[in-house]
Structures are given as C-alpha cells and as structure tokens.
Point group: C2
Chain length 349, copies 2
DNA sequence: TAGTCAGATGTGAACGTGAACATTTAATAG
DNA sequence: CTATTAAATGTTCACGTTCACATCTGACTA
C-alpha cells in the first residue's frame, strides 16, 4: 500500500520571510530583535509576513551564532519535597515569562560524581545561569572545585550561618533563602511565651544548611531566654523517621514541647505520641517548619513556620537575569518567614 | 587600574580536535557518533585528544544541522501535587539517562490560551516529543485542535473510560496511566468486605479524567455488590475543600464509610470528623487514593490506594523514545495500583 | 545646489556540526 | 602482480541565524 509522503514541508526561515516581505533577511532579524532603526511601515510589513507564514525563529541557529542558549539550569535534590518543588515551579514560570527555558536535573545521590554528572548534563546544554536547590553542604562544596564561569544562585541558608564562607568560595555566586534562623527563633519563642521551659529540638540531617540554621535559631532563642539547651535529636526529614524519634522520645518524657525542623517529621512524631494515648497539645506542644498545605489539617492542626518558597524561586530568577544583564548590584532583601499558630501548641499542663 | 582581559578562550570545537589528532573533522564526528568504520587506533587517538582538550560537542550546532534537539517537553498542570511531581522526576531521570534533555512547562491555568502558550514555548525549543501530565479533559481537548506532528504521551486515564475517544483524536499519541478504575474498585471492595453497605464517594473535580475513572470504579463495584449508589460529592483535591465536605457530611450521617478520591481530601474530611469528636475508624471508615508519603502517619493512618507514579513517568519516556526511534509496536501493559490497608478502615460498629 | 550626516537597509561571513559524496588505503581474489 | 572491492578517511556544503561592515536614502545645512 503506497503511503502518501507528506511533501517534506520545511519550516519557513528568516529568508523566506525576507523574500516575501521584500526586504533583506537582516531587516527581518532586526524586527525580531526589536531594533530601533526600522521604519514603522517596514516593521509592519515584516510582522505581517511572520504572522502569515507562522514563522518561528530557530532557537538552535540563534544559539549557535550568539553562544546564548536562553536556558537556565536547575540542579536540585529531593525535589519531591514540597518546598523545592514549589520553588522550582516558580523558577520555571518566572524564567518562561522572561523568555528563558529551564532545564532541570534532579539529583538522586548527592556525592561529587553525581553532582558533577548532573552539571555536565546541564553544561552540555550551554546553560547561561544556574540555580541550585540542593541545600546540602556537600553539594555546595562540590561546586567549589568546579570553577564555573556562569552566574549561580544557590537556594540555601549558608550565608546566614556564622563561620561558613563556602558561599564565597566560587565566583559569580549568590545565596538566597528565607531567613531560617529568624523562623526557628519565632517558633521557639512562641513555645517559650506559652510558658514552656523544657523544649527539645528535632533537627534535620547533618550536612543540610537548612537544618543547621534552624538548629542555630533554636539554640539562639533558648539561650536568649536563659533556658537550658539540650542536644538536638537528628532526623532525616521523613515522617517515618519522625515516628521512630517520637517513640524514642517517649522513653523519658523530659520535655513539654518540641520544635521540629519540618512538618513531615512533626507529623510522624505526633503520630507516635497519639498512638500511646497522649493528648496533643495538652501533653506535648509541637511546632513544625515549612507549612506544607496539609499541615492545617493534621491532627491536631500543626503550628508551623511558613516559608514563601515561590517567592524564593522568583527572586532567584530575578537575581540570575539581572546578573546575566550585567546589573549585579542588588540589595539582598531578607525574606522573612511567618509563624502559623494552630492547634498543636498550648500552655504546658 | 588595567584589567587583564581573559584572552577570550573559545571553547574547543570539532576542528581543533581534528587538527590535534591529525585527522579530519568528519572523522572526529564519526568517533563522536559511534560510527563503525573507524580504525581502533584512530578512534583511540581522537578520544585522547577529546579528553585532553575537554572538548564537548556544541548542542546548538548539532541541533541546527540535524533538526533534532534531543529535548523532550513536559506540559503539566498542578505539578505541586505529589503524583505529578514524582512522575516528572522519573521522566527527567529516564530522559537524562537516554541523553535527552527535559524542558518542563507548568500550567497555572488550563484554558486553551494557556495550553497553547505553553506549547508554543516548548515548540520554540523544537522538542522532539511531549509528555502531558495534565489530566483534565479540557487540556487534552485543546490538543485536538493543534495538529502536532511529534509523538505525544499523555499521563491520564482517558483510555480506560468508556465512551471517550478523545485520546484517538490526534495523531501519534499514547495514553498511559495506572489503572484508576481497578484501584477504585479495590478500595470500594475493601469497604464492602468489611461489611459496609452505606458507602459514599467524594470525587475529584469535574473534567479530570482521574476523577471520572475513580468514580466509575466506585460505581462499578457498588453495583456489582448490589449496593445502592448515591451521588458523589464533588471536591477539588484539596484538604481545605475536604474539610468543608466533611462538615457538610456531618449534617446527615447516612453512611458508615467513605471512599475519597485522593489523600488530601481524605485528610481534610478526617479532620472535620475528629473535630466534632467522632472516632475513626469506629464511627466512619475512610479510604483515600494515591498513598502520599504522609498518609501512613495521618491520624488515623490512612488506608489508601498506592499508585506507582515513578513507574508511570519512566514508561512514558520509554514509550516516547521508542516512538522516536520508529518502533512503535508496544504492548501497553497495565500498571496496577495497590491497596494499602491501614488504621482508617474497620468493620462498621 | 552640493555636502554632510544620520537613519534605514543590504551584503557577506561566521558560528560548529553532520550529510552526502569523493578519495585514499588496505585486503582479497585471480 | 594486478584488478577488484570494501573499509577508512577526507572534502565540501548546508543548516538558520546574527554580526560586522557596506551601501543607500533622505533631510538638513551652508
């Protein structure tokens, strides 16, 4: 059965447009790139032909000649989490509005090889800028040895941590985040103000800048209130681990309140407590961090610290685009988190 | 202060490699593309030079001459949800392993204009294939009028729904999903087997193929058991709306069990019930859908239907890549969901 | 009226790669 | 040893765009 060959329709190129409009291809190029030196009449004619032909500039040819890919890379890890995902979406949208493409790489492992491989993949795409959503110190350190020549924005709170200069160890880099320390202090202060004295902290895993910042905020606030600071229990962000920690904590209940480094762990811990018949917040007050959409409907509704992840993503792109256009003198305005007081906290019995 | 100009280091190109290896650029090209007709000695020499120079093929030049971008587009909506996000990650990883790039567009609105604009953005990138994670009928319908010439895989359950032929209305398209109807039947059967007779369904919003499929599965199973089917209550996937529905349902408690179309709504409903002092599952049994990671730690732990979103993503890419390579004769194996029985269901009192 | 100059438009080359075709080299058969 | 042929490698061109520079147009000045 003979197949009808679909007459190999080549997409119209800039010369087709030029020919039909009776101008040179360079004039069409000028119209496309918004040059000033074009007579309105000429511009109109060209635009009309573009419409008529449904002409779309060939991105590859542009990239080849300009060495600009109009692509921003995003390197992330654990993006299945609510925060990174939300930031990523905001990044994608903001970039798209500025007519940039986003190519993301989600790291499963965060060892040097994986980071390097992910980066290679992005570099093969000739990305013009990079956003890193991988708030683990080791990922950031991996960059130190790579000598990137493109602007980089990392979404982490390294800059907030004292004694950490890793953010400055490679060029053309900015670090951006919601103020984790301030958020942690708000959460802790809330518990203190309710009258709690024996407060423990369940931290995120070692090596995460977010975890370190939240712990530091907790410690700062406790010390400021003259309260004793006990060692933090180290979790891994998951509800599962939170549940196990909750069971451990039940062994000697020497606290009346917990500040937990994220909502998922707080959920797991709550579950462990409810399981043995404790009543929340009567027996224990719990504060989480992040304010994932489900947190309001946990049982009990979780008091937590809301971060504007979307705003974070938008700002990272704004920063990156500004840098790409040479205006790198920006004021790094702090993004403050917000305490959401709900049913999981109350005065101690 | 005189600035040292960084001697405009041009990245090495294929001719630099060729020159240094003492061969023609075409020979280098052959090495790069794994041609058979290369003497091992020559290949080794070229590879060595590539290593030495740190040469990386210019993607833009390749795309220009081959008209292949090695890029797959992903058009999604509501990707902040757990399922789509997980699928997206799997897609990204699978594509990267096959040396493809992924450019994603996340739709905020799903009207025709937004869908078209998103698609335009991807087409400007000359994507070779497209994955659509936007299980709303209107999005799929929008494609009908667009006459795409590239392979498309949609992640939705349209194909499972009787009387719906929209999946066939545009060419080169596949539809892929976890078997929603089977999952819904499992959930419903579980409640029936526990002894429940008065079971109601809280559905997803109108226009979502997933919502329709889950409702159909519920109805099918209820009818098969000879039980009366009451009209489904329509939600919007959010915990917030779930909470409101929970309050409404409390007005006349004419049911002993609920099958809710996703976990978030189930959470909101549970919260509403617990709020008025009901005990779960003693007073009401609830089954969700999706098995988000938090579901095991809800209070009570939620019985739900697990979908393998990652597998779905991987398969969509496998399907797409196969099609790009011409071998489109694939067996569309069903992906079956799994019922996770937890504490939120029990026999009626 | 001719000269000047800025604005508008055109011309040719270059970006880095792969495809098509041409040529050289090596191997095999007679 | 030569003819034949396949394998290996080389040469030229095209992809679609922007850049650098050249040319043309028209208005204003002296």
């Amino acid at each position: 059965m003979a197949k009808v060959e679909p007459s190999k329709v080549r997409a119209p190129n800039i010369r087709d447009v030029a020919h039909l409009a009776g101008v040179s291809h360079q004039t069409v190029s000028r119209v496309l790139n918004g040059s000033e030196s074009i007579r309105p009449a000429t511009r109109a004619r060209v635009v009309a032909v573009i419409q008529q032909l449904g002409y779309r500039p060939n991105q590859a040819a542009r990239a080849l000649v300009t060495s600009k890919s109009r692509t921003i890379g995003v390197l992330s890890s654990h993006t299945a989490h609510y925060g990174p995902t939300t930031s990523l979406h905001a990044i994608e949208e903001a970039a798209r509005l500025a007519d940039y493409f986003v190519t993301a790489v989600n790291l499963v492992e965060t060892d040097l090889d994986s980071v390097t491989a992910g980066l290679q993949h992005l570099m093969a795409r000739a990305i013009e800028g990079l956003v890193v959503i991988a708030p683990q110190a080791r990922v950031l350190e991996a960059f130190a040895g790579l000598a990137l020549t493109i602007p980089v924005v990392t979404l982490d709170s390294t800059a907030q941590l004292s004694g950490s200069a890793s953010a400055d160890s490679f060029a053309a880099s900015h670090s951006l985040s919601v103020d984790q320390i301030a958020g942690a202090r708000m959460a802790t202060r809330h518990l203190i103000e309710l009258g709690h004295r024996d407060i423990r902290h369940v931290a995120g895993p070692a090596g995460w800048t977010e975890a370190a910042a939240r712990e530091q905020g907790f410690v700062d606030e406790m010390l400021a209130a003259g309260l004793p600071v006990r060692a933090a229990i180290v979790g891994d962000w998951t509800s599962e681990r939170g549940y196990a920690i909750g069971q451990e904590l039940l062994r000697d209940r020497d606290f009346t309140a917990l500040f937990v480094a994220n909502d998922q762990m707080a959920l797991g811990i709550s579950h462990a407590f409810l399981n043995v018949g404790l009543s929340l917040p009567r027996d224990v007050s719990i504060v989480g961090f992040d304010d994932i959409p489900e947190a309001s409907y946990f049982w009990p509704a979780l008091t937590t610290v809301r971060q504007d992840f979307a705003e974070l993503g938008r700002r990272s792109i704004a920063l990156l685009l500004d840098e790409l256009q040479g205006k790198s003198d920006l004021d790094h305005e702090r993004i403050l988190p917000e305490l959401m007081v709900r049913a999981s906290t109350a005065a101690p019995a």
